[in-house]
């Protein structure tokens, strides 16, 4: 899932200061699951903004609407009626959703209500961890099911750096060193020999370094 966190309230208050009627939109998929931008969070933000405006002696009217996924044209179209009534839109979806809304309603200013963080998973209740950097060339079968790009601060592929100690990362002692974990798992599986060979240079162009990515599936085109 894509995880996000709500932007600080003051930042959002400042962004929408010029407008008197705004549409606060939630997304029903990832950001609902991580409690950052679903229907409930949209309602909370809308009421916080109204209260803040009233405290400043001014008026703010809000509409709220949440769709299944803001990252698809079909769903964001559902905002059309409410958007027409409002001067601006806050999207509480991930960056993909915000851009879809912005493209779908080019005559309205669209503001991000969340900061999109990473592709990850809820490790336990209330804790989400990064798992994938969408590199476009998966190596998880070689590394015991743990991603050295998402989980090593230096994206190393030939083993741990010189700062790994006591199973922790040099960047932050709260973070596990993924290379210690990879080592432990492959040792358990009797596959340490896999780590002896030198992994060649990566082609990073399959990831974000190759320019923004477009997947074309001709078999799926109409």
């Amino acid at each position: 899932m894509i995880t996000a966190v709500r932007k600080p309230l003051n930042e959002i208050i400042e962004m929408v200061a010029p407008y008197e009627k705004i549409l606060v939109t939630g997304c029903g998929t990832c950001v609902t699951i991580d409690y950052s931008g679903g229907a409930k969070e949209a309602a909370i933000l809308a009421s916080q903004l109204r209260i803040a405006r009233r405290l400043g002696g001014k008026k703010l009217e809000t509409l709220e609407q949440t769709v299944e996924r803001q990252c698809e044209w079909e769903f964001v179209k559902e905002f059309t009626d409410h958007a027409a009534e409002c001067q601006a839109i806050i999207s509480m979806a991930c960056g993909a959703g915000i851009q879809t809304v912005a493209a779908a309603f080019p005559d309205k200013p669209v503001f991000p209500g969340v900061n999109t963080r990473f592709v990850g998973m809820p490790q336990k209740q209330g804790v989400w961890e990064e798992r994938c950097i969408c590199c476009g060339n998966c190596v998880l079968h070689l590394t015991g099911g743990l991603c050295p790009f998402a989980r090593c601060a230096k994206t190393l592929l030939n083993g741990p750096c010189e700062g790994s100690q006591d199973g922790k990362c040099e960047v932050n002692r709260e973070l596990d060193c993924v290379w210690q974990q990879i080592y432990d798992i492959l040792k358990e599986k009797g596959r340490l020999a896999d780590l002896q060979k030198i992994f060649p240079l990566r082609d990073w162009s399959t990831g974000e370094d190759g320019g923004y990515r477009i997947t074309v599936r001709e078999d799926m085109m109409l």
Partner: protein, 294 residues
């Protein structure tokens, strides 16, 4: 111009080499470097030039190296993988060789968030093992990493950073073996304070035949105060035993005690198999180095 490594010759002759890490200025002036050089001139075999250590900004290592070589000192220049991608690494290898810098130490690099420029973007396009492989390929096979031909191959004596104090200990010799297979001619360790751990690592390394012929240059750092020792205990990749901190604490002259400790460590590592020299990590403390090596 091809660079000839005096360091390589000394190691081949079986001499115990002494390399001094030199403090690189944080301004656009070589004067502090010259002053530090004068303190050590002709006292050491080479000068190790760290590459923006601790992820902080210092004068460009290559510039410092060229200047020191002009003054007459041989240099060992560090190139980290934090600040340069494969294009910059290869261009640096060509440039350093053309400028007569004979020795390169490849390192991963302290992570950018550990320094004073926390917001910097990472590179780490190439890891340490791959960087060594690239250097060896350019030198021995006259090939860039993409297979294109190098017009004039660089002459370079290739060093690899290793850390006996990083974990998992039992995996560290295998990691060193990868660096050696990639093309490392010698390895340089982080500063040794924990002799027991260092000894364990040496023993594991010596069990691997291909590693037995690889010169190990042991890092040595004088502790100058209790605070210094305690700060190093917190630094990533270092092990400073409590017993050493206590020795400094109970001494009325901690700096002198620190020198004594460093000399003891030097004497101990000298006796260990495979240790063929030392690198004094004493940047900014160059005045202490002559006491350490006499």
């Amino acid at each position: 111009m091809s660079a000839n490594s005096g360091l390589k010759k000394l190691l081949e002759k079986g001499e115990f080499v002494i390399i001094a890490g030199i403090g690189i200025p944080r301004g656009a002036d070589f004067k502090p470097l010259e002053e530090r050089y004068k303190l050590l001139e002709k006292k050491v075999n080479a000068f190790y030039i760290p590459d923006n250590p601790g992820a902080n900004v210092y004068l460009l290592g290559l510039a410092a190296a060229v200047h020191l070589q002009k003054l007459g000192g041989e240099t060992l220049l560090e190139l980290n993988c934090r600040d340069r991608n494969r294009i910059a690494i290869q261009s640096s290898i060509l440039g350093t060789a053309a400028l007569g810098i004979p020795n390169l130490l490849f390192s991963t690099g302290d992570h950018q968030t550990l320094g004073n420029f926390r917001g910097a973007k990472r590179v780490y396009d190439v890891d340490l093992t791959q960087a060594i492989q690239i250097a060896r390929g350019m030198r021995d096979e006259k090939k860039f990493s993409n297979g294109e031909e190098v017009e004039q191959p660089p002459s370079v004596f290739i060093g690899a950073e290793v850390n006996p104090f990083a974990d998992p200990l039992e995996f560290r010799p295998a990691l060193m073996a990868k660096k050696v297979e990639a093309g490392a001619d010698f390895v340089q360790t982080r500063a040794v304070f924990d002799l027991e751990r260092f000894g364990k690592w040496i023993k594991l390394v010596r069990q691997q035949k291909p590693l037995q012929k690889i010169p190990i240059l042991a890092g040595i750092m004088p502790l100058v105060s209790v605070e210094h020792a305690k700060a190093l205990q917190e630094a990533p990749g270092m092990i400073v035993p409590d017993s050493l901190v206590q020795r400094l604490e109970s001494s009325s002259k901690p700096e002198e005690e620190g020198i004594k400790v460093a000399k003891e460590i030097i004497n101990q590592v000298k006796k260990m198999e495979g240790v063929r020299g030392i690198v004094l990590h004493a940047g900014g403390m160059e005045s202490l180095i002559p006491q350490l090596i006499t």
